[in-house]
């Protein structure tokens, strides 16, 4: 597991390489100003965010326009997004590529490269560190017992192990590990990851499982025991990118290989978790922390504005679609009969699908994938039922004498609907639209799960980092937005509901 640590130091500053590239590519970029930005994706955890920011900075230094879509989801989602072309680059780990993506456990780097190439994807050399499982101890304890490797643990059955539940169950987890090393500790506890760290620091447990680049390893000064029997699979960090990427961009990415070792990654992760600012953490890697750097991270005001605008886009467009489709469906449904029942039935069933599940169901479909489009369609489907149902009941509740008076006046069906029935049902229809709007504002926070942005972005990062302040940065504006939307529609009622109905 420590292969990277031993042999791959940071020989040449990537900042220098990038700046050389920057000069040469400035000419190109001046010509290619209209080129689409390179889109970098990242998974939902700190290290992925940081690596994506490192790639972003490096490409920017090479004069390439870059966009980072943070925390788009898990492996499957990113892999599909890359193949589908909705992102161009993202950081991944060799073990994950072989096992989860290519289903070829134990494949060599060459085999992985060939298999990826067949799908139009290229891979950089590894970045210089291996983020796999590891066993960690407090430095003083390991020194007290003279422990350096996992094999050394065999002689100390009295050491207490506190392992995560996942590690206890995994195929590459505790059971096969203990067999390979013939470990039989007296006590093995199942402990939550975060709780485990504090237990380790307090001395309640002696050995714990960790990811080899966990920020906590640096924060608490922990020691990683060497995997001397090479049990843990290699999870070397690489960038995957589309072969269609420009020569200079792929060159810039490849220049990052062998430039980050475990210690460096731990430092960057720790910095990122401490400051919650991934761009700033990535900046540390380039060694330019001076304030004159042109790459100051986005201000909170700008971020908030970006989130809110995207949020309103998501909720607004989906609501508009829901009105355009829902109103006619509601009109048809109001006539009752089999068709009406089917319409109300289907829209009702859609509503019962949990919103997360609906997103997950849409993502694999050809047209959708990881995109704003998918989020909008999901929100649209959610917004449909209140509009359809309120339109249908609003029309059905029109008293029969009024209905018949309109017919007797000799108005055509279209004239009756436009001039009489829809205005009479306007209160109910608007109430349905209002409900949809408020639901959409709330549900749109989930769009961030599939990289569609909006106020869900800080909420989800906050959840991943267990950071309440970040959660609130998204949750409070979302709540305020919902109230404003409610208020806006209350005003709209006064404009759109005919005065005669409000007496």
């Amino acid at each position: 597991m420590n292969a990277g640590k031993e042999s791959r130091g940071r020989n040449i500053s990537p900042a220098n390489r990038c700046s050389v590239l920057a000069v040469s590519s400035l000419l190109f970029s001046a010509i290619l100003v209209s080129a689409n930005p390179v889109i970098i994706g990242s998974k939902k955890f700190t290290e992925s965010y940081v690596l994506a920011e490192v790639a972003k900075r490096c490409l920017e230094n090479a004069g390439i326009k870059v966009q980072h879509r943070q925390g788009m989801g898990g492996t499957i989602i990113l892999w599909q997004a890359l193949r589908g072309g909705s992102i161009d680059v993202y950081p991944e780990y060799t073990g994950t590529i072989a096992e989860e993506m290519l289903k070829q456990p134990g494949a060599s780097i060459g085999e992985i490269r060939n298999a990826l190439s067949a799908q139009g994807i290229a891979m950089t050399d590894d970045l210089g560190f291996n983020n796999t499982y590891a066993l960690v101890m407090r430095r003083d304890r390991s020194e007290q017992f003279g422990l350096k490797t996992i094999s050394d643990l065999r002689a100390h059955r009295e050491l207490k192990f506190g392992l995560t539940h996942e590690f206890l169950e995994r195929r590459d987890g505790w059971r096969p590990l203990s067999e390979r090393y013939q470990l039989a500790p007296a006590e093995v506890l199942g402990v939550d990851h975060a709780v485990g760290y504090s237990a380790l620091v307090k001395g309640d447990i002696d050995v714990k499982d960790a990811y080899s680049t966990d920020a906590k390893i640096g924060d608490y000064g922990l020691v990683t025991l060497i995997d001397d029997r090479h049990f843990f699979p290699q999870y070397k960090a690489v960038f995957l990118y589309r072969k269609a990427l420009s020569e200079q961009a792929s060159q810039a990415l490849n220049d990052l290989s062998n430039s980050i070792d475990e210690a460096e990654m731990i430092r960057l992760n720790s910095e990122a978790e401490r400051t919650k600012n991934y761009a700033a953490a990535a900046q540390q890697f380039f060694g330019t922390t001076d304030s004159t750097s042109p790459f100051v991270s986005e201000t909170f005001r700008n971020k908030l504005l970006r989130w809110i605008i995207r949020h309103l886009e998501l909720a607004g467009i989906s609501l508009l679609l829901a009105v355009i489709v829902g109103l006619p469906l509601g009109i048809i449904a109001s006539r009752g009969g089999a068709v009406g029942h089917v319409i109300l039935g289907i829209t009702g069933v859609i509503q019962t699908i949990p919103s997360l599940a609906l997103l997950a169901l849409l993502v694999p479909l050809p047209f959708f994938g990881i995109s704003v489009r998918t989020a909008i369609v999901a929100l649209f489907l959610y917004g449909l039922l209140p509009i359809v149902r309120n339109t249908a009941t609003g029309l059905q509740d029109i008293p029969r004498p009024l209905r018949e008076s309109a017919i007797a006046l000799g108005l055509t069906a279209g004239q009756r609907l436009r001039k009489i029935f829809l205005p009479l049902a306007s209160r109910s229809i608007l109430a349905g639209i209002k409900t949809s709007a408020v639901i959409n504002i709330g549900t749109a926070t989930l769009a961030a799960l599939i990289g569609a942005g909006g106020l869900g972005e800080p909420i989800i990062s906050g959840l991943n980092l267990n950071d309440h302040v970040t959660i609130l940065e998204g949750a409070i504006p979302a709540a305020v937005l919902a109230l404003l939307v409610q208020f806006f529609f209350d005003l709209l009622d006064r404009v759109l509901i005919p005065k005669g109905l409000r007496l």
Partner: protein, 247 residues
């Protein structure tokens, strides 16, 4: 042919029950025909058949010589006026908008519409200041006057009144009945009035058609019905309406 509407052996069932059974009826031009009978006797069904709100199962119906059927009904409706209890005004439109709705959709000229409105205001004794009020801002009697005006906007050949005054208090009702009689006389309006109130039928109707259980029992003037009832039902129906004199 002097009659505007003809019913020949018309039947209509709702489920198992006959609403009307083999009804033969003529509505003569220029007079008020009052359809009367106990509730459920089928009198409203006759009116709704003419408007096309329900479709007959059997028999033939003619309006001015043309068959009343799906293909013709839209054209026929433009030649009808229809007033229901409480006026049937659309609450989201002002009195004026209720009046102009139909003529505007039928592309009548604006000044023509305005002239007609002032004529009708005078005729129905509706204060023109109330034209910009919403139905809920008007009294029951005023609503009914606007309903009547709306039905007369396009000078219909046949005015259909379905229990128009049933929901009004007696004094307002009496004034409206008197005004209606006057209006119809001035316009020489052909009217089919449905009511369950014999006094109203007697006051307004040139001819009374008495129905029971989906069939026409007797037609004629109130004097005929009183003097020569065809059966026990007619006698009872007439005598059930007691005037103050008898109290």
């Amino acid at each position: 042919m002097n009659a505007l509407v003809h019913f020949r052996d018309v039947s209509k069932r709702f489920g198992e029950d006959f609403a009307i059974r083999e009804v033969n009826l003529e509505i003569r031009r220029g007079q008020i025909t009052a359809l009367i009978g106990p509730s459920g006797c089928g009198k409203s069904t006759i009116l709704r058949l003419i408007v096309g709100l329900v479709v007959a199962d059997k028999g033939e119906m003619l309006f001015d010589g043309a068959k009343i059927a799906g293909e013709t009904i839209m054209k026929i409706r433009r030649r009808l006026g229809y007033v229901i209890q409480d006026g049937g005004l659309f609450p989201h439109l002002t009195a004026r908008q209720n009046l102009t709705l139909q003529p505007r959709l039928f592309r009548r000229r604006r000044n023509e519409i305005e002239t007609r409105i002032s004529e009708l205001c005078e005729l129905t004794k509706f204060p023109s200041g109330g034209l910009d009020r919403y139905p809920l801002e008007l009294s029951g009697g005023q609503r009914q006057r606007v309903g009547l005006m709306r039905s007369l906007m396009l000078s219909p050949e046949l005015l259909l009144l379905d229990e128009p005054f049933a929901a009004l208090d007696p004094l307002v009702r009496m004034n409206l009945q008197r005004d209606l009689k006057e209006i119809c006389a001035r316009l020489q309006q052909t009217v089919l009035l449905v009511t369950h109130d014999l006094a109203e039928a007697a006051f307004l109707g040139d001819e009374i058609v008495l129905m029971n259980e989906g069939q026409i029992i007797q037609r004629g003037s109130i004097a005929d019905l009183r003097a020569k009832p065809v059966n026990e039902f007619v006698r009872e129906f007439i005598s059930a309406q007691r005037g103050l004199v008898q109290l």
